[in-house]
Symmetry: C2
Amino acid sequence: MAGESNASLLNDHKEKHFTAGEIVRDIIIGVSDGLTVPFALAAGLSGANATSAVIVTAGVAEIAAGAISMGLGGYLAAKSEADHYMRELKREQDEIIAVPDTEAAEVAEILSEYGIQPHEYSPVVNALRKNPQAWLDFMMKFELGLEKPDPKRAMQSAMTIAIAYIVGGIVPLFPYMLISNADRAVIASVIVTLIALLIFGYGKGHFTGSKPFWSALQTTFIGAIASAAAFAMAKLVQG
Amino acid sequence: MAGESNASLLNDHKEKHFTAGEIVRDIIIGVSDGLTVPFALAAGLSGANATSAVIVTAGVAEIAAGAISMGLGGYLAAKSEADHYMRELKREQDEIIAVPDTEAAEVAEILSEYGIQPHEYSPVVNALRKNPQAWLDFMMKFELGLEKPDPKRAMQSAMTIAIAYIVGGIVPLFPYMLISNADRAVIASVIVTLIALLIFGYGKGHFTGSKPFWSALQTTFIGAIASAAAFAMAKLVQG
């Protein structure tokens, strides 16, 4: 039916749009932390008089650990959400078969929250009762608010975040790889990271619909606060 | 009306349930990374023959930076989502006033995706048209899938994640604070962190509805992989 093919075209369009948005979101998550934490760690260690060699060692170890923690952690979280969805799907399916009147009452309850009267929503409830697949989709979306997860997304999300973290983390660290005097390397690192944070923050604002200029400032501010805290803690420990 | 008060009780219940679930989720996010990254960083550095003093310095700097990056980053992300919601709310409001026929057609489209026929959904569409507030809520939820964000949640979420990260990070690090020989401290750190990862992973599984035993293994596995990678990268850099 024309209605069905239009609906599936719309769904395809929504899904592509949804995935592109999720990839951007994952890049933002990875680069945000990747630019900030290794930068702050390196700056903090330089303040505690570590050599560039030690700083690069710590930085590279942290980037590896961070990328894996975020990537693998994100993967397992997405898998866990997918399992949760399948469990809830099965439960709704069972309920539709076993206690259809209860399920129909739930549909009525959902619609009545919008001030819709029984004589107005009954035809909808009855239409759903006659179409178990559509009824199931309706309950998943409108009662539970769950979207069917794309099985490819878990791996895609994990790889995107991990790679974004690594790319973000290399930026503040490479000055220490090139300049063996940590007191001079930190100056280069601050300049390079400041520029990167401003550009990234601006891009983030553009993609998320916030004011890009404001977003650039906020992102740079977080980097500054994080490195100040790391610097202070490192000095504290060094005594 | 009885229907309205039942609906608002239900909403209150859902909101409390929603918030408790979100706090648990934030604790999981913070502790997951906090237990993993500082542990891996410390283990990696000990493999590169750093002293306990250097490891504690790096570890504490990383925890400070990580807590701020995750906490402040999470706060700004939540604020950005809240701003996004308000912008979309305003736009839907304007559309309902300016182009009600287009909005009514969108409601029809949403319902027709569930196989509901025009003569079945028209009473619902008309009921919504007569109740602009309910119509707006319906569009926000069913067209855009957006929930009204709680303004307190942004700060609450940020603090929860940051504190969870700090608590998680101290666990693998304190052996190095007590044992000045890094080669011995790392053994204690591995044991303490392994136990913490197993317990935390088990609890995480319990709260998220996954199999706790499997979750304990997965969580510990991530910690092991992250520290192996950090160890390898640190050795690589040390040459």
